[in-house]
Symmetry: C2
Subunit: 252 residues, 2 copies
């Protein structure tokens, strides 16, 4: 046991997910976890450290603030560790903050709620500057219909219809506290924001995929309630691209 020499750290990281094969480490492909664990090993003479995130993100999905924890030797000063991590990680991954926490802190179990955004570029011609951060959907959209569809989802529901069948989660009941739509004045993008106690696999990408079908007239607003009640993934719309999705915040 080295526990007396170990400190538990909570870190907040930001990453542009474009060139990552997701957060979770895997045999092939560059991952956020892989890059961070590699840097931690480099700083600590090659000793491996496992990191534990608040959740995972898929390939191409971004994070403005992902939270994680890890146990690390206390022989390396905190400020030096923080600076070294930012030097040793590539430009598309930054450690925003690092703080010492109690040894029972857990990034996933202690998370109370999460905020995600999904961006849609609704202009006729694709914007080259937002192409990795926004879904290009150049069809006329009705904002009021989109907002009505979103409001149906707010509250505690069984979200089976909005969960990938490739999941190991049995309990599909989640609470959405807020689901909003705003327009980014600078880029003209539609910005969907979801605040909930937790989100199922692909849940937001399926929800926004369905809302876009309603907003562009392929489905009626009322269908949203039927889809929810069907508890059947086939009832909902498509899982749209990962590039528009961003984890904005994890609340504790």
């Amino acid at each position: 046991m080295e526990s007396e020499n170990m400190i538990r750290y909570k870190a907040t990281v930001a990453y542009d997910g474009t060139n990552f094969s997701g957060f979770q480490i895997q045999p092939n492909g560059r991952t956020v976890q892989g890059d961070l664990e590699k840097a931690l090993a480099q700083i600590n003479k090659g000793h491996f450290t496992r990191i534990h995130p608040a959740g995972r993100t898929d390939a191409g999905v971004h994070a403005a603030q992902m939270v994680l924890h890890f146990d690390y030797t206390n022989t390396i000063p905190q400020e030096g560790l923080f600076k070294a991590l930012n030097i040793l990680t590539p430009d598309d991954l930054s450690v925003l903050s690092l703080e010492r926490v109690e040894n029972d802190f857990h990034a996933r179990y202690y998370a109370k709620s999460k905020v995600y955004s999904y961006r849609v570029d609704n202009q006729p011609v694709r914007n080259p500057f937002t192409r990795n951060f926004s879904l290009h959907h150049p069809y006329p959209l009705n904002q009021e219909k989109a907002k009505m569809a979103l409001s149906i989802l707010v509250g505690t529901h069984d979200f089976t219809s909005f969960c990938s069948t490739k999941t190991d989660k049995v309990d599909k009941v989640r609470t959405i506290y807020a689901a909003t739509l705003a327009v980014d004045e600078a880029t003209k993008e539609w910005v969907f924001t979801f605040h909930g106690d937790g989100f199922l696999y692909n849940m937001i990408r399926i929800i926004v995929g369905t809302v876009l079908e309603i907003a562009d007239g392929r489905r009626e607003v009322e269908e949203m309630r039927e889809i929810l009640e069907a508890k059947d993934r086939n009832a909902a719309g498509p899982t749209i691209g990962p590039q528009g999705l961003r984890l904005e915040k994890v609340n504790y």
Copy 2:
């Protein structure tokens, strides 16, 4: 002569310069001109068409609105040409508009003025989302000093001190109509904006490189006037990175 079958088009294009070796075609490396001329040839059965831009941009420099002209066969309908160009160009290059113009229109000679922006990420930790569009300069900056330095440059001056020695231009007199600094509330970036009748090679990158030396205290505000009067490239600050620079608009 095929002139009676030719139409002169004015096109406005946007590009993320990150993965381009600049605008101008060259033997090695992907260029904006190369991609556009390749698409025009594909649409017109392999016949080559030369495009003429309002100016060039270096590797890594972006354009929100670059203007160019070209002469093209009138057997291809304009709307079809516009759509085909956007389909045949990669995601980091978009044709925003295409219009028929008089045969004497010239994208470079007719340009009256240009607007460029330069973005600086002044946060302690690099923002992964702006890394390709902003210079990371994490040192305390004095905004008032930066604005005073900029104001000295407004007007008609010989900008030899702010021009790369690798230029073939003899006349270094240019007029800057406006040079401003604002903060982007969403990203906290410093955004420099320059409006002038024309800009010399590397001029804005050298100007902002010098202004940053004044804003972070390495030089005094008054030195800006001395640098201008020296008419010597060595008197000014460094040519900072291309990624913060963006051509915003060409006025006719």
